[in-house]
């Protein structure tokens, strides 16, 4: 579940400046990277993410055991030389399950956010640019969605859609739609009165062209930052659903679902509780650190 507040404040957008020219031959991307490199916390975040991404991708090769192979004689064993992080209630290797869980969490977080962006960004762009009844209808719909706390909305959606991996991604994705719509709409509202938009219009550009070719690129900085932070809260939401038994189901090696079982063995085998949770904290922290760093690097004016 997401603890992160849904951003409602409209941050003043900064038009993409031709930074490259101002700095000589450096491209905008290189400049951002240079600023990011200087931020210790952003690099720490990136490092954490790189490790977990590598774990996820390489899981089939680096996992010491099959994450689904049970060995009842060795159940609930604390960390030892054979099983570095111990075993769970069915004697499955916890390290292997956490490595496979990394793959799952990254995929869930990314796809959920992709769903949120795909639905939320066009809605926000058009809502802000067109205004009128379209804006009115979309904004009232968003108001209604925002009337539900995010966990409650996610629970309601999963109840309708049914449990399981795909539905969790859809539910968590839909929960993030209002965030994007609000954010992008706010950006558009202030961008659309700027000279470059007037100029494009004067040159005969149509609404769609203006929105997607001229306005959208200028919201990218804010969008990228928001998306990074949103992946963090998507991972938390998915884990929460898994924990409640409403998300990815057993025996899948999903961190939230693992914690749901570990809860029953809190006295006997606390390691089954500690390690999957640590994995979640580190991954989410990685996204948050990197997101904060990106915000500073992409636009110092957005610094909170």
């Amino acid at each position: 579940m997401s603890n992160a507040p849904r951003p409602s404040a409209v941050v003043a957008p900064a038009p993409v400046e031709p930074v490259g020219r101002a700095q000589g031959v450096v491209s905008a991307g290189a400049l951002v990277w240079r600023r990011l490199r200087r931020s210790r916390s952003a690099m720490l975040g990136l490092g954490i993410l790189a490790v977990f991404a590598a774990c996820g991708v390489l899981a089939p090769w680096i996992a010491p055991y099959d994450p689904y192979a049970s060995d009842l004689e060795n159940s609930l064993k604390p960390p030892n030389s054979r099983h570095w992080l111990g075993t769970d209630e069915l004697g499955r290797d916890l390290l292997s399950r956490i490595l496979y869980g990394a793959r799952l969490s990254m995929v869930i977080g990314t796809i959920a956010v992709a769903i949120g962006v795909t639905l939320g960004v066009p809605l926000g762009l058009l809502s802000g640019y067109l205004g009128g009844w379209f804006d009115l209808v979309v904004q009232r719909a968003i108001d209604v969605l925002l009337a539900f706390p995010s966990t409650v909305l996610a629970i309601l959606l999963v109840t309708i859609l049914g449990v399981g991996l795909v539905n969790v991604m859809i539910a968590v994705g839909i929960v993030s739609v209002p965030t994007y719509t609000r954010l992008v709409r706010g950006q558009v509202l202030s961008l659309k009165e700027q000279e470059f938009v007037h100029a494009a219009r004067a040159l005969g550009a149509g609404s769609l062209r203006i929105v997607f070719r001229h306005i959208l690129p200028n919201t990218l900085a804010v969008l990228i930052v928001q998306t990074t932070l949103q992946v963090a809260s998507a991972i938390l939401s998915a884990a929460a659903l898994g924990f409640l038994g409403l998300g990815v189901q057993q025996p899948t090696a999903e961190w939230g679902a693992m914690l749901s079982t570990a809860r029953q063995y809190i006295q006997l085998a606390p390691h089954t509780l500690v390690f999957p949770g640590l994995a979640i904290v580190l991954t989410v922290l990685g996204f948050n650190l990197f997101g904060d760093g990106l915000r500073d690097a992409l636009d110092p004016r957005l610094r909170v």
């Binding site: 009232r140 409650v152 629970i155 309708i160």
Partner: protein, 317 residues
């Protein structure tokens, strides 16, 4: 001056009224969403009530008595009329009126949320001040890192860890139950931790902004002790956005309550919702989501109004 105050007060009331009127369509929208959502849930309430072994005839009768055989728009109007009358139906399982169940559970969730607010303020505000007054020092870095870990932590995992340490190992505090303040301690720390982190971040940035103002320089220049400058001149002004964030957090706490209540078996509304979803108790799901959403809307409205009252610079239009 006096007239100005009266004018302002009227403006505030006009604003409150306007916001209340704007909240009505949202609540109506919420009722539609909940109504439709409940009907989209796979499964047949009549079948569930009757049990798997029931005959077709029994199921049909129950469906008729619940009004489930009527067209959807008609069902919605009946539903809305009942909601307005305070009738949310009965639980499919124990047959108790949903309103009674909600009335019993809701105050417990409120108690938990308020206690968590206290935790969030007592930890978050001093931590934020500390970080701001030692800006860019290791203290600042540490506070901000801890705060970031705080928002990165799954609520339920923190709760389970607290149970592990304080209930299982040290045996200082109970892991569940809700009767005394001792029962309240672990759940409220669990639920309040993420908010404390957010409050700390907000307090820090608000303090940093205020500390850069001219009047702070003036206060320092006239030789006031740093403690006085910070507490009396800076903090009071920095607290306005912090109070807003705290108010908005109260809504977020309702969200987190679902998880915290599940971890600590706290018999509040969040746990009621989760149990009802797992058991497919439609009337309870419906009533609980309605109540939570309505509370959320009311809280956000209250924060908006309070924000205006606290900050005289805000103008109502």
């Amino acid at each position: 001056m006096f007239l100005g105050t009266i004018g302002r007060v009227t403006a505030v009331w006009r604003y409150v009224l306007k916001r209340l009127l704007l909240a009505l369509p949202v609540l109506l929208g919420v009722s539609v969403v909940v109504f439709v959502a409940i009907r989209l849930i796979p499964g047949d309430p009549a079948q569930i009530m009757a049990g798997q072994a029931a005959t077709e005839e029994v199921v049909r009768q129950i469906r008729q008595s619940l009004g489930l055989d009527r067209p959807l728009p008609v069902q919605y109007l009946y539903f809305l009329r009942n909601v307005v009358r305070g009738d949310l139906g009965r639980s499919l399982f124990n047959g108790a009126p949903v309103v009674e169940e909600l009335g019993q559970r809701f105050p417990r969730t409120v108690r938990l949320a308020l206690a968590s607010m206290v935790v969030a303020s007592v930890i978050g505000i001093p931590a934020g001040i500390l970080a701001a007054t030692r800006h860019l020092s290791w203290v600042d870095t540490l506070v901000m890192l801890v705060a970031l870990v705080g928002v990165s932590m799954p609520v339920f995992w923190l709760g389970l860890n607290l149970i592990l340490v304080f209930s299982v190992r040290l045996q200082w505090l109970p892991a569940f139950g809700y009767e005394t303040w001792r029962h309240l301690l672990l759940p409220s720390v669990t639920l309040g931790a993420a908010s404390a982190a957010i409050v700390a971040r907000m307090t820090r940035s608000a303090m940093l902004e205020v500390l850069g103002q001219d009047y702070i320089r003036t206060a320092r220049a006239k030789g006031l002790a740093e403690r006085v400058v910070v507490n009396r001149h800076a903090l009071r002004n920095a607290l306005i956005p912090v109070v807003t964030v705290l108010g908005l957090q109260l809504g977020t706490l309702l969200s987190g309550a679902v998880l915290t209540e599940t971890v600590f078996a706290w018999p509040g509304i969040g746990r009621l919702l989760v149990d009802a979803v797992l058991a497919r108790d439609y009337p309870i799901i419906q009533g609980a989501t309605l109540l939570i959403a309505a509370t959320f809307v009311a809280l956000n409205l209250a924060v908006d109004v309070l924000y205006g009252l606290l900050d005289p610079r805000i103008r109502y239009e």
